[in-house]
Structure formats: C-alpha cells, structure tokens
C-alpha cells in the first residue's frame, strides 16, 4: 500500500499496528478478537493487546478512542508515544521526513526527539507524567529543556503563561505538584504536555480520577486549549461523556480490534456494532 501521497492531508497515519505480550504462535492473531470474545491466544497464552489497528489523524482533529478496560486503548497511545515497543506496524508523522519514515524504525534518540518536540502526553495518573521531586515550573522546564530552550527567563515566562492558561496559581509555580489537588496536578500535566506547542497531544483517561465538578473544569480547559491552539489530539476514555464533549471522530476498540469507526455524533446517535450499542445504551 502506498502510504505517501503527493499532498499529505493527514498528520498521523497508523497502519497494521499490533502489540502482543508473551510468545505468540501462528494462530495467535487469528484466534483472538471480538469474534472469539477474548484477546488471549488459546494456543500460546499470548495476549493480543491490539491487533492490526489502522487510522489517520488530521491536523486540528480530536480523535476519541473508546472501549472497556483491557480493550487496548491505553496500549495504543503508549505505542504511539513510544512508551512501549510495538510488535508490528507502521506509524507515519507528517512532520518527520514528510511522512515517509515509519517512526517505529527510528533510533531511540530520534524517537526521543519526536516525543520532545512534536508530541505531548497527559496520563491518567499525574505521577506518570510529572516528576514529583521537581517543582511544577521545573516539570514544565523539563519539557522545554528537552526541546532545547536553555534560557531561564524564557522558561519561566513560558511556564507562567502556561500555568495561567491552565488556571494554576502562578505563585505556586515553584511548589512541588505533590502539594496540589488532583485537578491541579492534571492541569500542570496539561501545561507540560503543551509546553512546546506540539502538533499532537495524547490524553489517556485524563479525568478518570477526578470528581465530577473538577472533571468538567478540566474538560472545558482541554476543549478551550484545543480550540485556541489548534492541536490535534487523541483522547482515550472509557467515558462516552468525555468522548462526546471533546472528540470529532471516534474509534471503538474491543479485544484489541477496531469494531467501529466514525464521526462521534454518528457513533453515539446511531451505533452500528452490537458492542457499541451496548456501550451507548449503558451511557443512556
């Protein structure tokens, strides 16, 4: 398949992305999935976290990934953010070699460059995304330093701007995030993720640990920042309310397979797959 076109419309292109834990055998990929209602290979015991995932993400678009626990949502974004290594597949990014190079084949140093300059990640648990032995400003500084800003004045100026944007009191910039509430920690994480103005940000269950009123504030913030900065996002959630509020398009995952893919409104209003229907009906 020719992944490259003369004029690239997409920002991120994912093809045949697969992740298997354990030792797979020839039948592992064919004997798992929604059809078998399991992602554990009966022959080898290997776990197929995601199997043959394909999608495109367009500039400025917010793509939702929804599914139950263990469906492969978090694994998918962790593979795209290089937190884990894929078993197979291709990932192309428009900003790297004009989308000609499979990112999964890059050296670790080059992957780090892509992560630091072109991507941001907000984890479900702030401890995964923030270093609690550094101050909040230090955490934002880390992202800026990784991308080559070595000017303390500029770092502090940028951190002040980002914390203001994310409604974290600037006077607490030099405090460790451990002394912050959960919602504030998530907002610091968001500041860190967008510190370098990356074209792509991943959000993995960002509101899961927060109470409803704080959830609403964080979602409002994400929506506002996305709108103002025009960042492309991949939002992972098991909460269809979050997906409805934030995303333009949605992928529904089950046992590591895409079972439905379409515009978010369409999927929520008129779900086609039985599993999606179950998800939507449980929401309503």
């Amino acid at each position: 398949m020719n992944h490259h076109e003369n004029e690239i419309g997409w920002l991120l292109r994912v093809r045949n992305l697969t992740k298997v834990y354990g030792d797979p055998v020839a039948s592992t990929l064919t004997r798992t999935g929604p059809k078998y209602d399991s992602n554990i290979c009966p022959d080898s015991g290997a776990i197929v976290a995601i199997n043959n995932i394909e999608f495109d993400l367009y500039p400025g678009e917010v793509l939702g990934i929804v599914g139950e626990s263990g469906s492969g949502k978090s694994t998918l974004v962790q593979l795209l953010f290089f937190d884990q290594e894929a078993t197979a597949g291709q990932v192309y990014f428009r900003n790297i070699d004009e989308g000609r190079t499979n990112l999964l084949t890059l050296s670790n140093q080059r992957k780090r460059y892509v992560k630091n300059h072109l991507m941001g990640m907000v984890y479900q648990n702030p401890r995964d995304g923030l270093n609690f032995s550094f101050s909040s400003g230090g955490n934002i500084a880390e992202k800026l330093l990784m991308a080559g800003t070595f000017h303390v004045g500029q770092i502090r100026g940028r951190a002040t701007y980002l914390l203001t944007q994310t409604e974290v009191p600037v006077q607490r910039m030099d405090e460790a995030p451990g002394s912050f509430s959960g919602g504030m920690q998530q907002r610091v994480q968001i500041s860190k993720a967008i510190a370098n103005n990356p074209p792509l940000v991943f959000m993995d269950e960002v509101t899961s640990g927060l109470d409803v009123s704080v959830q609403a504030k964080v979602l409002d913030l994400i929506r506002r920042l996305q709108h103002e900065l025009g960042i492309s996002m991949i939002v992972v959630s098991h909460d269809l309310g979050v997906i409805r509020m934030l995303t333009d398009r949605t992928i529904v995952l089950k046992h590591g397979h895409i079972v439905e893919h379409g515009l978010t409104d369409q999927i929520l209003q008129d779900p086609q797959h039985a599993y999606t229907q179950l998800l939507v009906s449980s929401l309503l």
Binding site: F134, E142, L145, M146, F150, H151, V152, I155, D174
Partner: protein, 294 residues
C-alpha cells in the same frame, strides 16, 4: 611495623598483578577514546578501604613506571595523612621518585583539587572520584542513567540546575559541578571546586578519573573541550575571593582555604600547598585564571 624489604621481595611491582594492570590500562584507553564515558572495570582489592582513593591508586599503579616521578595531593595538601600514606605506599611498591613539586611530577594523584600550576603534556593527573555518576542525584536507577547517557537525555540534570537557581538565586553546587565533555557526555569532574573546572578544558595534560568503590574510570584527554553546564542567561561562575589575600604568602588569585583562629578571627591561605610555597619563595608559576562574567 612492616618492613619495606618484605614488600619489595614478596609483592608484584606496583602491588597489582600484571594481568589486572593490563585490564585497567585497556579500560583507561577506552575511557580516553570516549571522553567523559564511564568505563566499568574490575576494581581489585587494595590495602586501603574503598572510598579512600582506591580508584586513583588503581590508575596510578597501572600506569606508573620506574622512571616516573610521583606526587599526591589531598584537597590541595601534600601533607595530609591520606596523602602521606598513599605516597609512602606507592614509593614502597614501585621504588619511583616522589616529589612535592607539581612541575617535577609526571603522575599526580589528587583528591578534590586540580593544581593551580598549569600542567604540561608530559603529565597525567589522576583524580580520586567518590561518585562517578553525575546523574545519580536525579536518577537513582543505574539502568536508567545508562539509557540517559546513551540517548544524551540530560533534561533532568538541567532541571536540577534550574531548580537550584530558582530556589537559591545562584548555582549552588560548590563542588563536582557537572561538565559536558567533548560536546557529548555529561560527567562529574569529581568533587573539585568550581575554581578548577575551567582548567579541565583544552588542557595540555591527560585527566583520568578513577572511582574504585563504584568501579568506573572516565577520562578527559588533552585538548578536549569541557564546558560547565550553564544557561544562556545564568552563566557558570567560579568562587570569588574579592580583596582576599593569602595570610602566609600575601598573594591572591588562587583558591583559598578559610581558617578560623582559636580567638574567633579568620584568615585565608592558598589551598594548593606546593603553589603557596612557590609564590612565597619565588616567581609565580604559570596559572590559568578564569574571569567571571559580569
């Protein structure tokens, strides 16, 4: 007391057996080839406790020959107990000449100082290093620090400098200031004062760093670029001694020790004892002095 004769007749030249010396030399060569990279080595047992200069002693004894002239300094002093013991040991095990004079020595072993006097391309400075891993303060896991070095991922180190500056308004590290060697690896120069750090860059001599307890060797070959980590707007500075003169020699422009008297008064003396003796009795030896940015 153990007689020298017994050592001379029963022990190998330079105490360490030849195959181990060969291994240390091979690792030293590797360290020289990859400036700033920490090379693991065997670190054999020595007749002193680990942490008392075993790394330095391994390097010294693997390199020293009968024609070498050996000098050892401990925090600038030729006369500390540790320096005297190691000097006597090296002399006993090699029979080589020992000296207090920096210019005369071919191998200088040092704890926590680089001599004030400029070293030549005929000299090797062996530094004793307690903790060779510059990233240990920001990352406790060894496998991660190795990965960070491999990928030149030094953001955490930079953040620690940023945090120190934000918290205290100054670069707080008094010793062991992190350096970038040959524009690649970040390394620790051992706990030398900031005063000595500029002397590591483009030096005539070979610097070897031995950490016996941690089993690591790293090196700065002659004429290698060494840069202390600094921000664009917060520059590296060496210690200031404004208006302070050595109470023994009357000289300034050297790293000073502050000494308190019994009656509560204080005075300063030049830390490098051989340099102080020289400026006291004759012309000032050649020195490289760093000017702090305004």
């Amino acid at each position: 007391m153990i007689e020298n004769k017994k050592f001379q007749s029963s022990y190998n030249y330079g105490f360490i057996d030849e195959s181990t010396k060969k291994e240390i030399r091979r690792k030293t060569l590797k360290a020289v080839c990859i400036p700033g990279y920490q090379v693991p080595y065997s670190s054999p047992e020595m007749p002193i406790s680990r942490g008392w200069g075993t790394g330095g002693l391994h390097l010294t004894l693997s390199l020293i020959g009968k024609s070498d002239v050996f000098k050892i300094i401990d925090q600038g002093s030729d006369a500390s107990v540790n320096a005297c013991n190691l000097r006597q040991f090296v002399k006993m095990m090699t029979g080589c000449e020992v000296t207090f004079d920096t210019a005369e020595a071919t191998i200088i072993q040092s704890r926590h100082r680089v001599p004030e006097e400029i070293l030549t391309d005929q000299q090797i400075l062996v530094l004793q290093v307690p903790q060779p891993e510059v990233l240990r303060g920001v990352e406790r896991y060894e496998f991660r620090t190795r990965q960070m070095h491999a990928e030149a991922d030094y953001a955490k180190m930079w953040v620690s400098l940023y945090e120190a500056y934000v918290r205290f308004g100054t670069m707080m590290r008094g010793s062991g200031y992190p350096i970038k060697v040959n524009r690649r690896y970040i390394a620790t120069p051992s706990p030398i004062p900031r005063w000595d750090v500029p002397n590591l860059s483009m030096a005539n001599c070979l610097y070897l760093f031995g950490a016996g307890r941690e089993k690591r060797i790293h090196a700065i070959p002659p004429y290698t670029r060494v840069e202390p980590l600094e921000f664009e707007d917060v520059k590296f500075r060496v210690e200031d001694f404004p208006g302070i003169r050595c109470s023994a020699s009357g000289q300034d422009r050297a790293f000073m020790d502050e000494i308190f008297d019994d009656d509560g008064g204080r005075k300063h003396v030049i830390n490098d004892s051989n340099f102080m003796d020289k400026v006291k009795s004759g012309p000032r030896p050649p020195q490289r002095l760093f000017t702090n940015p305004r």
